[in-house]
């Protein structure tokens, strides 16, 4: 793949609009091309900048009233004003349509962040980073009695470390990761050749609900809250098995 082609597909990649084959091709190109990586980073920075809530605003409630008043005043004059009011009616509708089209365009240009929580992208990135050689675990052990105490002194909470070996999910170890700028527990399980990162952090008042599944960059992300903890399981494992994993971690969800 040439740089020109990669640059054209960069936005689609960041929008999650590329199919897996093209995604792979672009990512392979990025791995070997510092210039395109830098272009991607710049585009990501642009997206992050536009995500700033300070750049968004809702029109003041009084605006509608002022527009209506202005229209009424324009309509209270003589024949010319009435003529103008009548003549203006179709363009007003057109203007409304134009505003709608503009809204569609603006919302598309702004990042598609509202569909999924912001941490979904973060946990997928953490998982992908962890898959690089030597990054998977800070403590490598299949023994949950070893892994659980390892978190003491590293986190201000003690994450659950379920033993799921007999269900076909082997504990490989754990690491500390960052989600929403705070350290969180990341447990690593393996099922056949698939690695699962299970992130866990205090629920902080989040209500328990049915698990939500998201798909990002070819990875499934299962998110749920159970009791005092919020969980996020990330893997290239299929959705059915990932949901089964979630039910094993938190029975009853």
């Amino acid at each position: 793949m040439h740089c020109d082609q990669a640059r054209t597909l960069l936005d689609a990649l960041l929008d999650d609009e590329l199919d897996p084959v093209w995604t792979l091709e672009v990512e392979q190109h990025l791995e070997g091309c510092p210039a395109c990586r830098s272009a991607r980073d710049a585009r990501t920075a642009l997206r992050d900048s536009l995500r700033d809530p300070g750049l968004r605003f809702a029109p003041p409630v009084a605006l509608e009233g002022r527009v209506r008043d202005a229209v009424r005043r324009a309509g209270s004059g003589g024949g010319w004003a009435r003529l103008r009011r009548t003549a203006l009616r179709p363009p007003a509708w057109l203007a409304a349509a134009a505003v709608l089209v503009l809204a569609v365009v603006v919302y598309q240009v702004l990042p598609r962040g509202s569909r999924e929580p912001a941490f979904v992208q973060q946990v997928v990135s953490s998982h992908v980073r962890a898959l690089m050689p030597g990054h998977l675990t800070d403590v490598a052990s299949s023994e949950h009695h070893t892994v659980k105490p390892w978190f003491a002194g590293r986190l201000d909470y003690s994450p659950p470390v379920p033993d799921l070996d007999r269900d076909g999910f082997t504990l490989e170890g754990a690491r500390i990761d960052y989600v929403d700028d705070r350290p969180v527990a990341a447990l690593v399980y393996r099922r056949r050749q698939h690695v699962i990162s299970l992130f866990a952090w205090p629920a902080a008042g989040a209500a328990a609900g049915s698990p939500q599944i998201y798909t990002r960059r070819g990875y499934n992300v299962l998110h749920w809250t159970a009791g005092p903890a919020t969980f996020c399981a990330v893997s290239d494992l299929n959705e059915g098995e990932l949901r089964a994993f979630g039910r094993l971690v938190s029975p009853g969800t």
Binding site: L9, A42, L46, D52, Y107, V109
Partner: protein
């Protein structure tokens, strides 16, 4: 409206080929990025 449309949905609404949607969005964002860098003098865009 809570969220944007997918490329396919934009293509349907605007009556364009999906490739046209993709290239126009890419061009629009490149231009926005260029303008922001020119305005702020920073590579990272509008603000940090």
């Amino acid at each position: 409206m809570e969220e944007g449309l997918s490329y396919r949905e934009i293509a349907e609404v605007a009556g364009l080929a999906i490739g046209t949607v993709m290239s126009r969005l890419a061009r629009g964002r490149a231009r926005l990025q260029h303008e922001l860098i020119a305005a702020t003098g920073r590579e990272s865009g509008a603000g940090e």
